[in-house]
Assembly symmetry: D2
Homo-oligomer: 392 residues x 4
């Protein structure tokens, strides 16, 4: 066992739907047997994971009776206790059943919107019962193919009504639970509303209880659109809104791949881990490191656990690489803050007419500034050599 | 002259940099002569445009003396008066000069940040002098290639400092001017901060004077990332933040093309014009219809004016198609609101425990709902036939 | 009934799997009942289609006995006869069953490769029995996620072995059947070998019986990668290799959407129809106009037939627009060939030292040539106005 | 000096245009001074490079007189001799001058096509004079924005006429020179003909002297379209057509970035180096390792040399990682060939009716085969850990 083996102290979590994914895809049938949630929990614990997350229907089948539900939940709680695993996050499946084909909270039919709210309240109750402190919303069907079917402004308004309602439901029940909203630009819908973490952050700023709502950015979802995942996450952190995170890997401009963490776009994965771990300064993310990924369809159950270990190991390798990078004295020199005793006071602390005048009068030789090389090729190459384990 | 010929009543505007673009690109030299701004204004007026927008350096060369500046501005004002054209929007060029190679408001060097603020104040003064009511910010260099060069959270904070400062500058001077922020995910930088209109809307919500700041979404910039431009604009409109708009055309996943409006992704262009014109209900955008595009490099000056006319004509054709679509009785039937006397009161007007209970008790047959066909293939096909002028 | 209603003379065909698609996707269950193939044939005929295509398992379930197979095929032939429909093309499903999870012809396990060949021979027999003259190969699983699992050169060689073998099988049996190979860059595999129509055309040039093998380009597959579909199809036509075509619609950089023909990227759809119909000169494609698309998941069976009619109507509208565009005298003037009596003979008919010398001596004023505007903005705008039905 | 420092034995080459790039981009002016070619050669040699490549106009300005040309060439040859550098490859610039705005070999105006041929003949003479054995063609302007301007089939035919002519020119002059064609899907044109290495390979198969023509794939060009670069290169190698290669880095779906080799999509870079070095078996590429990249615009001249060293060092690090991966006994076990004494003889060596019958009769239990896990998650994770230097 090397330094990169996962332990519960690392706060790694997986969704039941991730290690339980049987390998069905749009062009093919399942390749693996469905594994019981209680076995998944036990095996995750064996692999070094700390938490397990779930959609309501990952555990309790759609349409189960109250008795069935209670029995299933009881067995699951026992499995948690046996394994020492926790449920840090829960969510609800508002995308698989055909009733959601036009959306859930944004569907045109009030019956669908009502049913979606009801299903979510039940899922919140379930999550709280299992100990979850975070509830994630991914609106997989909240979008369109035939865009004229509704005004996109109504969709935003309906989404707001739903989240406002559910915030109050949580408060009314005295639950210790916060919400994390997850964006995705497309798939399974042609275009999904509130397409990126940026759009979601803005939407949150319009909510009645915005303080209890943050984001759950997912690597694959922002990367599909070719956006810098690190920049999106950083904007959320700067605003105190990074409530949860979904780790996986994805190539740009493709179907939703949910690959093993770090196995694509390794540089962005490094930058992300560095940001979350705070080795470069600026604050550390303290929530769960959640993997929303699944094993290749070529794998049997053993391959699933190889996959799970791989996600966690790569995270820890990248964290070690980031720590070494940020401790590198040449790096520190290259990114040291530039101080300017005259200008710094003018640039911070707000506007005044005097500052404006001083800025206008300041002696700045822009040609000298423009000519200075910034050493960023060197900086980035050092980073790559750390990433590749080629610089000690 | 047909119904689609542009007139000043249509409020079409162009940037000096658009019709003045001489056809240089990363792989080739200019193919057209540079045309004097005063001639550009006169020709735009001839084509039926209403307004002309500008970066400071489109009109006044970088480093011009105060005397030169005043002479140039005087001649330009005379040209505006002669032609009846207005300057609805101004902006500042913080990307061409090498001093901005590391960014402007977010650059690591305080000298650059100071110079950028000073240059913007001057550009604001110029814009106000020319009558502009809107000032656009596009931070073309506010990004990175070597991402470790700064913490992306610092970049957001520096951007906020700058916009907060400049809002106060405007207020302190008593200017009647609002700001519109323009996002772009990449190019010329590998990744640009605040990558989409969504990220920008959120950023605005964190400003001290957020009421005077909105967005200026550009078709090409959101489309590069494959996002639905219509959804992004709709979110801005729903929040009262669509202050300006940049119209052009772009294929997804490419360099910044700035093609003639409507000449790519015609369906999205239709949906956008329909949204802006409000033919489907939900409110109309009343600001300038600004084109931020340029003629192909194969064109001479005549080709530039063909290009400009083409932008405006296509907008008007699409507006006519949208009006016909929304007046089509079959369309109205397909997208009529579904009312539900029992559920509608539960879904609007906020949460109560009683509503939650009523939702849980409501009689909803989800299988019946799930089976209902929604007619969206029909709806979209009718839309395409309107778009193609094949349905009267 | 207007001029755009489809008729059998238009040679429109659909796959059983297209109008039979029940609306399952990676995130959701089916939304429509499965419809019997014989009913699909009858309804397609009603809609004006001419042909129906199939995978072996669209008609005969995987693992059916010989007796079952013969009964099903007999009923299907009767349905064809009743409706006057033909089966122009057949193919085999080498992607749904888990046995193909590592590929079919390129799988590492010889058992899989052997089974894939055997299944294809049976599917060829079935296709020939139903009257098909074309057999399509789409190797949905011929790719990788973990790229180190095999040398990509071996994959190409294995693919060649398989197609060479099957060509000989067809000849040995005296079948009147040609092959059409279909490329796709990704999905369901992370990367699929022979990623585009270009790669496939080259692969064909290395086959033993290359004369009996051509391509079956699909709009969605090339468009996913953002390539010009028209250019790829044109290259195939120029080489006499356009044997079949799959029509649908797709946004760039996304999951495989298979949308209603013409409903996205309408300009490319126009350019494609213009090329296939040969209205601009240069030869017409005479094979089937096959739609490989499916209705939105929001639709019931009625929506499926709306979808099918929409595909065909849009094709006919675009064909009419293309004819009008190419008959437009202004267009003809803009794209008329430029003749040069001195240079034309030097540029055609092969090399000679004398031609080389004459080219070097020719009097060419490149500055004059460079300055000439080409009128392409005008040309493209006229095209858009024809497309939008706004120019008569 | 560690094991990754470049030496001439590594056969690394750079274009004059790469290390000579002054940092101009579509939105900004140059940030670095232009450096004399003779100095570039000397500095490249200092960095450990072996060869330097050039466009005609990188060395001899467009329109230079014969005397100027000869003087420049003489000085350059002297610099080569002083530094021990070679010129393995030459090419011609058919994209910068406005005369090529509509294409070069495919332009509609015969004068342009004639001038392009003439310019290429001169550039071939220059390349041969400098010792080049390879001549690269990148047709940056061979494409369209207004696609109706010419039939894309004519474009392919014109391209064929040009390459056929130039092959004969080389033979007629007794030059020891081969051609390598370079594809690119877009930029600076909206769509460029023969968009990928696959399309180019097929085009080559239609040439009169196809044996002297191969491909020059570029990482950035295939990656822009999101294609697997490794698969494209492998197809070329399998066909004996990898004549040259352009190494750099690129994010998918963006403007042409030409970043430092290995600095993006590090996994693909690893797979590529592994393929070129042949550590996994299947043959090694023996030509130049050419870098077609340039330093960030933030750099001064020192940054340019940091950039150049970085390209070469990363290549060598990746080569070391590939060698270790392929020597790893667990890897060898995971990707060992599966042998089947019964089936292997049926699958190779061509068709016979007996083989077809034997395949049909073979006893294959597909359910057993389907259930077997393939260990690809493990394989890929081991590869990532080698890549990250975390497995010894």
């Amino acid at each position: 066992m090397d330094a990169f083996e996962p332990t519960p102290r690392d706060q790694f979590s997986f969704g039941l739907w991730t290690v339980g994914n049987p390998g069905r895809d749009p062009f093919g049938e399942p390749t693996r047997a469905v594994v019981n949630p209680t076995r998944l929990v036990a095996k995750l614990a064996e692999c070094g994971a700390w938490g397990v997350n779930l959609h309501d229907n990952d555990l309790v089948p759609f349409g189960a009776s109250a008795t069935e539900r209670d029995q299933i939940v009881g067995e699951f709680k026992a499995a948690l206790e046996d394994s020492g695993m926790v449920v840090p996050m829960a969510t609800t499946n508002l995308f698989s059943h055909p009733v959601f084909k036009d959306g859930a909270y944004t569907a045109n039919d009030p019956k669908v919107r009502a049913f979606a709210l009801r299903k979510t309240m039940d899922a919140i109750d379930l999550g709280v019962e299992l100990g979850a402190k975070m509830f994630v919303f991914w609106g997989g069907r909240e979008g369109t193919e035939a865009d004229a079917c509704r005004d996109p402004r109504s969709a935003v308004a309906r989404m707001r009504d739903a989240i406002d309602f559910l915030c109050e439901y949580v408060k009314d029940n005295g639950y210790d639970l916060r919400f994390a909203l997850e964006a995705k630009p497309n798939e399974p819908r042609c275009d999904i509303y509130l397409a990126t973490t940026g759009h979601m952050l803005h939407f949150i700023s319009t909510l009645k209880n915005e303080e209890m709502v943050g984001v759950n950015p997912e690597v694959a979802h922002e990367s599909m659109a070719g956006l810098s995942f690190t920049h999106g996450v950083a904007q959320a952190m700067e605003a105190g809104k990074l409530f949860h995170i979904d780790l996986n890997a994805q190539r740009i401009g493709r179907y939703d791949q949910d690959l093993r963490f770090g196995s694509e776009d390794t540089k962005q994965a490094f930058l992300l881990v560095r940001l979350l771990e705070g080795t470069g300064g600026g604050g550390r993310y303290t929530g769960p490191r959640h993997f929303d990924a699944h094993a290749y369809r070529t794998e049997d159950e053993q391959g699933v656990w190889d996959f799970a270990r791989g996600c966690m190991r790569t995270y820890k390798i990248l964290a070690a690489r980031a720590a070494a990078f940020d401790a590198d004295s040449e790096v520190r020199a290259l990114i040291a803050d530039i101080r300017d005793e005259t200008l710094d006071p003018l640039l911070g602390g707000g506007y005044s007419a005097e500052k404006a005048a001083a800025l206008r009068a300041a002696d700045i030789d822009i040609d000298v500034v423009a000519r200075r090389g910034l050493g960023y090729e060197r900086l980035d190459q050092i980073m790559m050599e750390h990433l590749l384990g080629a610089r000690s």
